[in-house]
Symmetry: none
Subunit: 288 residues, 2 copies
Amino acid sequence: MARAKSSTIAEQLNGGRLGLTAADRKLSAALMADYPVAGLASISDFARVAGVSTPSVLRFAKKLGFTGFPTFQQALRGEVSAQLQNPIEKPEQWSSKAPRGHILNTLASAAMENLGNSLRHIDHHTFDDVCRLISDRQRTVHIVGGRITGHLAGYLHTHLQMARAGVRLVPGSVSHWPQHLLDVSEEDVLVVFDVRRYDARVQEFAASARQRGARIVLITDQWMSPVSRLASQTLALRMDVPSGWDSNVVTMFVAEAIVAAVVNENWKATRERIREIDLYFEGGRRGR
Amino acid sequence: MARAKSSTIAEQLNGGRLGLTAADRKLSAALMADYPVAGLASISDFARVAGVSTPSVLRFAKKLGFTGFPTFQQALRGEVSAQLQNPIEKPEQWSSKAPRGHILNTLASAAMENLGNSLRHIDHHTFDDVCRLISDRQRTVHIVGGRITGHLAGYLHTHLQMARAGVRLVPGSVSHWPQHLLDVSEEDVLVVFDVRRYDARVQEFAASARQRGARIVLITDQWMSPVSRLASQTLALRMDVPSGWDSNVVTMFVAEAIVAAVVNENWKATRERIREIDLYFEGGRRGR
DNA sequence: CCCGCTTTGTAACGATCATTTCAGATGGAC
DNA sequence: GTCCATCTGAAATGATCGTTACAAAGCGGG
């Protein structure tokens, strides 16, 4: 019976040297999701969490080279014990599963680089100004995006709505834009997402809003949408990735950061607002 | 479920506020000698290691405020889990303009940590399987998400459409779902985004699709949507941030990675497709 | 489309575990 | 030295767990 070659079960699983079946992978994922504690519960609990049957867990343990589930657990306990003695060496020994050169790794390092570069180039005063503008309850906030960035606009909209009233998403279909424009009044804020392949329609909309007296906040890429000429604040992000398209990971990050900042600004009110929203969402509550 | 007064069992024991008997002290010592792993074995093992009888262990657990030994173990597991999550304090000195402690930096290190942790836990075989499924031109790909993740679903949809035909976004309004369900046929793929505050409707939709013979690919968080039981592939991501909400930066990353992988699979065809799409987008071309 | 293989879950079993009961042990007070 | 209160462990219990056997389901190759 194969005694474990790797020192930890995690390594063995990550190594991919064992032919893992679908059930095995579910178990592996569940175990990794809360490693190694997930495997320290009873076999039936572990099976339930992973969504497989108990025998599958047993086969899993045997495939890893153990004689039974208790033996498997014993090994896990040993790992916990070892890990807790010297918590310092942890980051090193666990490295990404995907082999070097795997697309996940390539893109991940690109994403990290983008995030770092973007932060380096964003003036945090500008960022704070943006957040202050958006936090201002006196102003209605309008959000607009293009074909791709429209989804980010929607994401920002959904979250901002939880933080404050008076947030409006400019709909995706251009035909509704004229009516929407009428709602834009002086002192309002228009958040524009516009990245490469800059959308002429978005630009026109921004120009019109500007004429009606709205302040424009622009979130764009390093090549700068022409909307920047209209904007009172511009956040230029890096979104280079080796994949044919630009990456909006950083855009998403900034959207979330804005939300977090706005929420921070007035946490009490937001909390109350969320509570109320929750009341209307009676269904579909779950999760620990 | 009786909850401990102190945050950890160790604190309670060291506090000395409980009248410990001789057997209790033996147990306490044994537990501390290999904390908390010693307490994770079976009650009889623990008793043997401490040199006491099993009932003494039980009384010990009850004295600590638990209803029984399993409850006690559960608490210990919780502590291990918490302890193993924290001690990663790795964000290097990447010089950002924003001052240390600025929300941008706080969130950025959280985002990087999430990305790292997610990569560490994703089985890249699973990821490859997902991409292979989605690349399969024989299968129609359906994408669905909840209130928040719907935007991610939309983002993925828009991009996948550029890569291949037969990609359908399940609309946001639940009332249209029944009709859409009819379009789901055997051998199709349903990509489900479902993160905490798991959406019961999404779950129902996935169940119905499953019954119609579709393969389910789930993108969820580390706490695992219940949809995972229906899914043939599950990608569990980390999305913890210190901001009241979970972060979908990593979700966005994975969506983009999937697109990149699918495009890679058949770059020629995709390129041709994009060229054609561009022909229909005569307006709004600009950029570098 | 049918066949074989592999994978998976259901159901039964035996084993271990967690718990209770109760009798013996311990230790201090008088 | 005796008594009582408390603590402790042996033994018995019911419950749960881990394991096995087997049948159904899924998946590829002919």
